[in-house]
Symmetry: C2
Subunit: 423 residues, 2 copies
C-alpha cells in the first residue's frame, strides 16, 4: 500500500485514526529526547574504571619523565599522541593532543587562519569574501562555526559515497572557497562513509593554496558491529593529499568524546609537518599545555588501538539494539508513506527524509507530544532545509524502552504530516 | 662598602676573586633552574588527594543533576562557578569556568574581539592600529599574545602600588589603545599589589568603549604568609568599573594552576553581565563544554574559599623558606653592588634590578655555570629591556638545597657583571 494511491477519503480516515493515536500519546505526558548525539548513561558507565586509573598513589610521570601534574608540553605527552595517532591514521609526530573538544580544535584552526593566515597566505579575515563547501545534510555545530565567522556556506549534496564531487570540484576551483566540512566515516547525520574515489578527488582537485579540508573523523572507530566485515573505514586523506602534491590541504580531527566521556575526553588533530609546526608555534602562545593528567588517564585506560577497539565493541553492544529498533519501527510503521531513512553501520545518527514540506511539521507535532527531536533544518547551513524534508534521528541517549515510545510517537507524527499533505 | 666607591685596582682584585669562585662553580657541572614559575614536586604532592576524589564509585552528578560525564554546560557547572567566584571576587552568574588555562581564556578573549568586536564595536582586526598598555616588568606570556596579534605594545612603569597611572591615563585616552595587561596581586614578576587609588583610576579614566582591562589575578590567594596581616588583597576592579559607569571595561581571570595542578587545573573568568552574555554566546559555538569532571573534582577537593585558604597555607609553608632564602642570600652577597630586588608577600617571583647593562651578562654567565634563569628582557614587550637591568627570579621549583646553590651562583655572576662595568 502506498499513501499516494489512496483516495482523499481514505486519507481522511487514516488521518483521523492517527490523530486519535496522537491524542493518546499526548495524554501520556511524555518527556523523551531524541535530539542530540549523546551517549547513554550505560555507555558512560563503561568508562567508569578510567576514574580509578590515576589516584594519589599513581606514578604521574609520562614515559619520558614529564611530570604530568606540572606545566608544559603544549602538543601533548608522547604516549597520548601515539594513542590518538591510531585513530587519526597518522604518525605521532604529526599529532597534537588538545583539550576535551575536537570542535574547539576546529574552531581554533579557523580562528588562527582568520587572524594570521596559513602557510604565508593572506589571513582569511582580511579577504572580502570567504566561502565554504558544506555537504548536506551535515553537522549543525560545524555550520555554526563558519556562520559565526561570516563565511558564505554553499550546500552540496552528500551522497551515499560522500559529497557530490562534481559540484565540489567546481566550487573548490574558486580562490575564495577556503574549506570544506567533512565527517568522512559514518557521517553526521547520514551515516555514509566516503569512498576511496571521493578521497582521491578531494586530494587532487584544484583549489586555493590555503583551501583546507576539515576532516572531522568523529566516528572513525564507532562501528555498530564488532565484525570487521560489517565495519567501514575511510581512506586516509592526508596520505592522498601528500601523494597529490597538496600535503597541507587536510586537517584531521578525532576525539574520545564518544569513547570515554563527552564531558571529559581528549581531542586531537593531525596534519602535515608544516601545518603542525605552524599550529604548534601559534598554540604555544595561546596555551602552556592541555590537561596532561587526563591524557595519561586515557592512555592507561585505553592503551592502544586494540584497547580502543575492545572498548568500542562494548559501546556497539549497547547501541546496536537502538539502531535496530529504529530500523524495525520505521520499516513497520512508515511503509507506503514515501519516507526514506539511512541504514548506517556506525556513528550516532539516522537521517530521515519525509515528503517535501513535512519536516518542520513532524518536529512540531513530536514536540507537542513530549518528544524532542533535533530541529528541522539543523543539518543545513543557516538552518535552512530547502525541501523541509530532513530530520536527524539520534537514538543513542534514551534507554531502549523510552526510545521505543519516542519512535512510535515519531512515526505517528510523520503519518499525520504526510496525510495532511494528501488530504 | 659600596662598589662604586672602590678604586679600579680594588675592583680588579674583587673581580679576580669572583672569577675564581665562578670557575669553582663551573667545575661542579651544575644543572639548576630558576627560570619558570613552576610549583615544586612537594607542592604538587599537596593535591594528590584530589585524584582520589572521583573514582568509579563516585556520584558524578553536579548539584543540579547534570551528569558531568556527558556533553554540555559550556559555562561550567554551578558549584565550580561558585568556587571560582570566590577567587574572582564576583558573583557566580558572572563567572565562566573554562578549561585548564587562564592564559587560553585571555588569548580567546583577544581573539574574539579581534574577529568579532565587542559590544557592537568594530572588530580589532579591522582597525589599522591597535595599541596596548604594558606595565613593565610584566608577564612574558601576556606580551607574546599581544605581539602575535600585531598589537603595538607601549611600556609604562610598574611602581610599587601598580602602573604609573599618569602615563596610563594619557595613553588610554587614545581611541586606538584597546587594553592593558594587569597582574594586580603579587604581580608577575615584581610582586607588587595595586593600590585602591590605582584601581579607582583604572576604572574611571577616559578610554575607548572597547578598551578592556585584562585583570589576570593569577596570585589572588597566593600569599606567603597565612597571617592575614601579612596578606595583600587588591580592590575589585569590576565593582570599581561598574561604579564609574564603565561596567564592561574589565575581564577578570584566575585559575587553580598554582593551587592544585598547573597541568590539570581549572581556569575561570568574570566580567559584566553584558560581557558574559556576549562571551557565552560566542563560546557556545567554539566548544560544547569544558571538562566538567575536573570541575567536580576541584569542587569536591577545595570546597570553598576557606578550603582554598587552608590549602594555600600549605603551599605558603613550602614557598616561604625559598623566598626567605632569596632575601637572605641577596642581602648578604650583593651589599654594595647597587643591585636592588623586590620583597614580595606572595606570588611566585622576585624582580632583581642590576646596574644598567648587566642583565644579559648575568643570565649568560649563569647559564654557562649551569643555572638557567628567565631570559633577560623576558619581562618586557618584544623582549627588550631598555636598561638591560631586570631579571626575574623564580625560586619555587628547585628544592631548597638546589635553590641555595643557584642563588650563590647568581650572586657570583652578578658581582662579576657589576665589577666588569667598573673596571
Amino acid at each position: 500500500m502506498s499513501y499516494a494511491d489512496l483516495s482523499s477519503a481514505e486519507c481522511s480516515t487514516l488521518l483521523d485514526e492517527q490523530k486519535r493515536a496522537y491524542a493518546a500519546w499526548k495524554a501520556k505526558d511524555l518527556s523523551l529526547n531524541m535530539a542530540r548525539g549523546k551517549p547513554s548513561s550505560a555507555q558512560l558507565d563503561l568508562s567508569a574504571p578510567m576514574l580509578n586509573v590515576l589516584n594519589a598513589a599513581s606514578d604521574l610521570q609520562a614515559a619520558d619523565g614529564t611530570d604530568c601534574r606540572n606545566y608544559g608540553v603544549g602538543v601533548g605527552i608522547r604516549e597520548a599522541r601515539e594513542l590518538m595517532a591510531t585513530m587519526l591514521d597518522d604518525e605521532a609526530d604529526r599529532v597534537i593532543v588538545g583539550g576535551e573538544s575536537s570542535l574547539n580544535l576546529m574552531y581554533d584552526a579557523i580562528a588562527r587562519n582568520w587572524a594570521f593566515g596559513t602557510q604565508g597566505c593572506t589571513p582569511w579575515g582580511k579577504l572580502d569574501t570567504v566561502k565554504w563547501i558544506c555537504p548536506v545534510p551535515g553537522y549543525d555545530r560545524h555550520f555554526s562555526i563558519t556562520e559565526l565567522f561570516g563565511i558564505e556556506m554553499i550546500n552540496v549534496a552528500l551522497n551515499e559515497d560522500g559529497p557530490d564531487m562534481d559540484a565540489v570540484e567546481q566550487l573548490a576551483a574558486d580562490e575564495s572557497v577556503k574549506g570544506i566540512w567533512c565527517v568522512p566515516t559514518y557521517s553526521n547525520p547520514s551515516g555514509c562513509t566516503y569512498s576511496d574515489e571521493v578521497v582521491e578527488r578531494l586530494a587532487n582537485m584544484k583549489a586555493a593554496d590555503d583551501f583546507r579540508i576539515f576532516w572531522d573523523n568523529a566516528y572513525c572507530v564507532h562501528h555498530l558491529s564488532s565484525d570487521p566485515a560489517e565495519q567501514e573505514h575511510v581512506a586516509d586523506i592526508a596520505r592522498a593529499c601528500a601523494a597529490a602534491g597538496n600535503p597541507n590541504r587536510a586537517y584531521k580531527f578525532a576525539s574520545t568524546s564518544k569513547i570515554t566521556f563527552p564531558g571529559a575526553g581528549i581531542a586531537a588533530m593531525a596534519s602535515s609537518e608544516a601545518n603542525i609546526a605552524e599550529i604548534t608555534k601559534l598554540m604555544n602562545v595561546q596555551i602552556i599545555g592541555h590537561d596532561k593528567l587526563n591524557q595519561l588517564r586515557h592512555v592507561r585506560f585505553l592503551h592502544d588501538a586494540e584497547g580502543i577497539a575492545e572498548h568500542m565493541a562494548k559501546h556497539a553492544a549497547l547501541l546496536r539494539p537502538k539502531f535496530d529498533l529504529v530500523e524495525e519501527t520505521l520499516s513497520r510503521e512508515l511503509e507506503g508513506t514515501g519516507c526514506t531513512w539511512t541504514h548506517p553501520r556506525g556513528g550516532y545518527f539516522v537521517t530521515f527524509t519525509g515528503p517535501q514540506g513535512t519536516a518542520k511539521r513532524i518536529v512540531e507535532l513530536a514536540r507537542e507530544a513530549g518528544v524532542t527531536l533535533t530541529g528541522a533544518g539543523a543539518p543545513f547551513p543557516y538552518h535552512k532545509d530547502p525541501n523541509d524534508a530532513v530530520i536527524r534521528i539520534a537514538p543513542s541517549l534514551p534507554p531502549v524502552e523510552e526510545l521505543a515510545q519516542a519512535l512510535e510517537v515519531f512515526c505517528c507524527c510523520t503519518k499525520i504530516a504526510v496525510l495532511e499533505k494528501l488530504v
